[in-house]
């Protein structure tokens, strides 16, 4: 190989290396963009006439030490989203109050349809009449709050608060408390622990039964938490990755990306409703298992 034949090879190699570096850089940027949209942050973007307009939140507001662990409870982006969701729900409730009559009209009708659905199809069939009616407010709160948080993640400048594992862990912890409280109220405080080992079980199986039952009690709310979190995050990551694909590869992928993206958006809308319903219903089922009336 003479010197003339070697030169194009070097240029080609250099171009390949440059392309790879550029692709890696773009990949890095896309990854940062996806992480910025998924995780909690300290700034909120809002629509305005400028290119990038953000409100920076104070991250030093409520920081304190709790026995060696540094806890930061300042208001972050997901907290603001949760407050917006709660505010919207309160507004919805107040607006529906004006038209309450024997036959409700308008907004109250819609809300009543939802509440009756929760009461008649989720609460009472699983928990019996008394406990079902007692727990319906909690189930309604859970359902509407999770639904509002999920839907806020879909609007352009919003971020899904349920895409944060701490938020879903808090919701699952509330359900855990509700389940234990229901069980303890039905069976008495010590009766609840005695129920872990049912009657008629030989004495040498009792330790195994207690261990397995305790694991079950802890695993069920944990599964609730992870299910909601993973469903929300997976939907967002897929949509953002499809958009980011346009930047990493050429721009002509964009019709395909757009079509898939719109389809994933509808799927995520459906998944948002479904996951709120599933969370509520599994809470009702777990409570019903503990409050089961002896036939």
């Amino acid at each position: 190989m003479g010197p003339c034949a070697r030169l194009p090879k070097r240029k080609e190699r250099q171009k390949v290396v440059e392309n790879a570096a550029e692709a890696a850089n773009k990949g890095e940027q896309v990854k940062n963009m996806i992480l910025h949209h998924i995780t909690n942050g300290w700034d909120i973007s809002f629509p305005s006439s400028e290119l990038v307009s953000r409100v920076y939140l104070n991250k030093e507001l409520w920081k304190f030490h709790l026995g060696g662990l540094e806890v930061n409870m300042s208001i972050s982006r997901h907290v603001v989203m949760m407050m917006i969701a709660a505010g919207l729900l309160i507004l919805l409730g107040l607006l529906a109050r004006r038209r309450l009559a024997l036959v409700p009209q308008g907004l109250a009708n819609v809300l009543e349809a939802f509440v009756l659905f929760i009461r008649d199809d989720i609460a009472v069939p699983n928990m019996g009449k008394k406990t079902g009616l007692g727990f319906t407010p909690y189930l309604c709160s859970t359902f509407f709050f999770i639904l509002a948080c999920n839907l806020l993640g879909l609007i352009p400048y919003g971020s899904a608060a349920t895409g944060n594992v701490s938020v879903t862990a808090g919701l699952a912890f509330m359900s855990f408390l509700a389940i234990q409280f229901a069980g303890m109220r039905k069976m008495g405080f010590f009766g609840y622990f005695k129920h872990l080992v049912p009657a008629g079980v030989p004495w040498w199986m009792a330790p195994i039964m207690i261990a397995v039952e305790l694991m079950g009690i802890c695993a069920k709310p944990f599964a609730l938490c992870v299910r909601l979190f993973a469903n929300m995050v997976a939907g967002h990551v897929v949509i953002l990755s499809l958009i980011g694909l346009v930047f990493v590869m050429s721009i002509w992928v964009f019709p395909l990306s757009l079509a898939f993206g719109v389809f994933m958006y509808f799927l995520e809308l459906f998944v948002g409703f479904l996951q709120a319903y599933i969370f509520t219903m599994l809470t009702a089922v777990f409570i019903g298992l503990l409050v089961a009336e002896s036939h």
Binding site: K31, V226, R227, A230, A234, V237
Partner: protein, 57 residues
């Protein structure tokens, strides 16, 4: 994840079987199917989240 998809497919087949045998129980079967689908999806998405976390670390 493939196991999850296979499981949900099997369950949809069983649900349609049951509905065709007794059409009046279609609503109950549909509810049970949705519950079981969400539970299986939970396991699948758990695996996906672990994968994403490992890829982003």
């Amino acid at each position: 994840m493939i196991g999850g998809a296979y499981g949900i497919g099997r369950m949809a087949e069983a649900a349609m079987n049951g509905t065709s045998r007794q059409p009046t129980a279609a609503g109950d079967i549909r509810t049970t199917m949705i519950i079981a689908a969400a539970l299986i999806e939970g396991v699948t998405l758990f695996a996906e989240v672990i994968c994403i976390l490992m890829a982003l670390k």
